[in-house]
Amino acid sequence: MGINAIIIHPADNVAVAVREIKSGEQIIGINHNIQAREDIPRNHKVALREIRGGEKIIKYGETIGIASRDIQPGEWVHTHNLKAEDT
C-alpha cells in the first residue's frame, strides 16, 4: 500500500495529501501517528500537530501563512483557517 501524504521539509507542520484522504483515515508515509479529522482533498494540506491561532503555518521549512484560528492535528488546512502573513 502506498503513502497518502508527504512532508516536504522536516520543520513543516503540515503535510500534502497526495490522494484524497477520507475522514478517519490514517495519514500514511510520515512519522506522525494521526488520523484525518475530516476529508482532505488531493494536493491539499493536513495539519501534523496542533497549531494555535496566530501561529505560523510552515511548509518548505518557511512560513506560508498564519493560522487564523486553532487547528487540530489531522485537520484540513486552507484559506478557511490560514491567512496570508502581513509583509
Binding site: I8, V16, G29, N43, K45, K59, G61, T87
Partner: protein, 384 residues
C-alpha cells in the same frame, strides 16, 4: 572526482562542443538556415532581434547574443550580419573573441548576397568543425559548472515532487563549488522577504527585494486585472492557500544555499554558488537568458508537459507525476512522480544527480535527441 568536459582558452569548460552559426539580426536568418541545411552538424542560432528596437532592448539583445557566443558549450562561432542593422556582426565577434575561442563573421551586403555569403560560410564552418572534432574531453572540476533552473507547464505537484527533487541537485552542486541560476522573477513574487533573508549580505538582500517588487509592479501594469492570475482561483482549488506557498513551490528548486548575487537578464555572474537572474517567467525567454549568463546545462520541471530544449545547452526534463512521464515519455528524462509512491525526496534527488552527471559527461537528453532547439530573446519595449 569531477566530470569530463571541453576546456576553453578562457578557463571555462563546455559540456558540449558546438560549432555555431548565429545571425546578428533577423534579416540574416535565411543565410544561417541555408548554412545549416548545407552542414547539419553546425548549430544554427536565429532570432527576431538586432534592429528596430529601442536603446534598452538593443543593450539586452547585444549582451544576450554575446553571452550565447561566449557560452562554454560553444567551441567556435560564425556570425552572419546583414550590414545596415543596429547590432552589427563585427561588434559581436569582437566581444566574443575575448574568450580566445575561434570567432569569424560575414556580412551579407559585403559578400555579394545570399549564395556567395553561404558559400564563404560553408568554408569557415568546415574548418571550425575539423578543429572542434579534434578536441577531447578532459577531467574538470564541478566548480566550472553553472546549472540553470526552469519550471514550465507546472501543475499542483511541481512544487511537491519535481522542484524539491531539483533542490537536492542544486544543493549538491553548490556544495561541490559549482553555481546555480534561479530565474523567473515573476514566480518569486510574494517571497521577497524569505529570499532576502537567504541573501549573503544586506546589500544583496535589498537587491533581491527591489528586483521582485519591480517585477510585481510590472506584472500589475502589463496584466491589469489579470495580474491576479499569479495566484488564481485555480491555484486555490488546487490546494495552494497563499502566494507565498505557490512561490515557495517554485523557488524550492534552488535548494537551500545562500544567495550570493543578483544579476540582470543575460549577465554572467561574478560569484559562485546560488545566483538570482532577473527574467520573465516565460520558459523560452528564461532559458535563453540563463544560457547567455553562461549556464552549460539546465534542469527543467514540468507537470503538464513541455518538449522545449535549447540549441546550445542540454535541458534535462523532469516530470512531477508519473501519468505525464508515461504520456510524454519521449520528452521526459526523469519522473519525480515516484515521490508520491513513497520514494524519499533525497533519494529521488540522488537519482537526478546521477543522471545530471551522465548528461554533463555527454549523454544526450530527450530534448537533444528530439532536436528541440528553441530560443527567444526577452525584450522590454516595442519595435519601431
Amino acid at each position: 572526482m569531477g566530470f569530463m568536459g571541453f576546456q576553453r582558452p578562457d578557463g571555462s569548460v563546455g559540456v558540449r562542443n558546438y560549432v555555431v552559426v548565429m545571425s546578428s539580426v533577423s534579416c540574416a536568418n535565411g543565410v544561417v538556415n541555408a548554412l545549416s541545411r548545407a552542414i547539419p552538424e553546425v548549430k544554427p542560432i536565429t532570432h527576431t532581434e538586432g534592429c528596430g528596437r529601442g536603446i534598452a532592448d538593443i543593450a539586452i539583445s547585444t549582451r544576450t547574443l554575446v553571452g550565447l557566443g561566449k557560452n562554454p558549450n560553444v567551441a567556435a562561432i560564425l556570425i552572419i550580419g546583414l550590414g545596415c542593422e543596429f547590432i552589427k556582426a563585427p561588434g559581436l565577434a569582437e566581444q566574443i573573441k575575448a574568450t580566445g575561442k575561434p570567432v569569424e563573421y560575414l556580412v551579407i551586403q559585403e559578400n555579394q548576397g545570399t549564395v556567395k555569403t553561404t558559400r564563404n560560410a560553408i568554408e569557415i564552418c568546415k574548418k571550425f568543425l575539423a578543429d572542434a572534432n579534434a578536441m577531447k574531453r578532459v577531467e574538470c572540476g564541478w566548480d566550472k559548472l553553472i546549472l540553470g533552473l526552469e519550471c514550465g507547464g507546472s501543475d499542483a505537484l511541481s512544487g511537491v515532487t519535481a522542484n524539491p527533487v531539483i533542490g537536492v541537485l542544486a544543493d549538491w552542486l553548490v556544495a561541490q563549488g559549482g553555481s546555480v541560476i534561479l530565474s523567473e522573477t515573476t514566480e518569486m513574487i510574494g517571497t521577497e522577504n524569505i529570499l532576502a533573508r537567504r541573501a549573503i549580505d544586506k546589500a544583496t538582500g535589498d537587491k533581491v527585494k527591489s528586483l521582485i517588487q519591480r517585477q510585481e509592479k510590472l506584472t500589475k501594469d502589463i496584466l491589469g486585472p489579470l495580474a491576479g492570475l499569479v495566484v488564481s482561483p485555480g491555484n486555490i482549488e488546487g490546494g495552494l492557500s497563499t502566494i507565498q506557498e505557490k512561490a515557495l513551490g517554485c523557488i524550492i528548486k534552488a535548494g537551500t544555499s545562500p544567495i550570493q548575487e543578483v544579476v540582470e537578464y543575460s549577465v554572467v555572474p561574478s560569484k559562485k554558488g546560488l545566483v538570482i537572474m532577473d527574467s520573465p517567467g516565460s520558459d523560452i525567454f528564461s532559458l535563453t537568458g540563463m544560457a547567455a549568463s553562461g549556464a552549460q546545462i539546465t534542469v527543467f520541471s514540468t507537470g503538464r508537459g513541455t518538449p522545449a530544449g535549447f540549441p546550445i545547452m542540454p535541458v534535462i526534463k523532469i516530470s512531477s507525476n508519473t501519468e505525464l512521464f508515461r504520456k510524454m515519455e519521449d520528452d521526459i528524462d526523469l519522473d519525480a512522480g515516484v515521490v508520491l509512491e513513497g520514494k524519499r525526496i533525497e533519494d529521488a534527488g540522488k537519482d537526478l544527480i546521477a543522471l545530471f552527471q551522465q548528461v554533463v559527461n555527454g549523454m544526450q537528453t530527450r530534448a537533444e535527441i528530439n532536436q528541440q532547439d528553441v530560443l527567444a530573446i526577452h525584450t522590454v519595449g516595442p519595435a519601431f
